[in-house]
Symmetry: C2
């Protein structure tokens, strides 16, 4: 590959879950350009599969896209480098009220590679056991469940658009069903 | 759903392809919180399918994740509200050197709903006709082609992680193959 050299990464603003930078890059033709960079500590997500094969989903309002979404349970890492499986186990219980002793890695995704380093490791959780939902103070989540076929239909109909959820459900179906 | 009220959206910094804001939100329990918001004008992506069923892919260096990626061709809209099909047609030709007169909508994704409004509309292009690659000055792209099965394998192996590419390839396979 051609050589890209990052000359400097300038912090422009610190946020709650992201930080915003200007990266000064020397591209292969020698030009020096400024590119946006959004730093994020990463996240974990989980496909909770019930005995009958239905998937537990969470419905919530998303300010960034000004509407509610239907997503697989997910959440940011507590600290950079936290094992993503630990985060997946925690978010499963906090958001849905289920625990699992059978959590298997499925895929990793980078949500938007043009400007952000966010990674989401996606797991499949089986053998779900009722526990207790424990939402953050400013988190408002409804728990629902759907057949995989229904979820696929909703993806093609535009009712599910969240990239981690689309990637997760389709990759799960392709591997296991 | 519960009521979320956005009291203010404060522009913190303007970037090249994103803008960074602080959103002041009144959440349903009455608390007032500050959430990050990254504004982006959206993008289009395309799965170029050759006569023999192989998919044309682009390999490029991605500064945000500090490595090269294998992705479906894609690019930002030229202006907010540009029809995404026009952008898909343009990016197909510019990045791969192929034109198509048969482009069909597949799915839309929101890349990272926790803090960003980025939407990517994903199309399938068939009946590909050789034309001329026309890269931006600071764009360095290698064109390759793969069977769908190879691409799926690379997704499970972690060799393809880009969310639009994972969502696109899996959704294409599930619908058509």
């Amino acid at each position: 590959m051609e050589k890209f050299e990052r000359i400097e990464r300038k912090l422009i603003a610190k946020g709650t879950i992201v930080d915003y930078y200007h990266d000064i890059i020397r591209v292969p033709n020698g030009n020096v350009v400024t590119w946006d960079f959004i730093g994020n500590k990463g996240a974990a997500a989980v496909i909770p599969v019930m005995e009958d094969g239905k998937i537990i989903m969470v419905r919530q309002y998303r300010n960034a896209i000004e509407r509610e979404t239907l997503e697989i349970p997910a959440g940011g890492l507590d600290f950079p480098g936290e094992p993503t499986k630990d985060a997946a186990v925690r978010e499963l219980e906090e958001e849905t009220g289920y625990k699992s002793d059978n959590i298997e890695f499925l895929i990793s995704i980078k949500t938007t590679v043009a400007f952000c380093n966010e990674n989401i490791d996606i797991y499949v959780a089986k053998n779900l056991m009722p526990s207790k939902q424990n939402l953050d103070e400013d988190e408002f989540i409804h728990v629902e469940s759907y057949d995989v076929e229904e979820l696929c239909k909703m993806i093609y109909e535009g009712k599910i658009e969240d990239s981690k959820t689309v990637a997760a459900i389709m990759s799960y179906k392709n591997k296991y069903l």
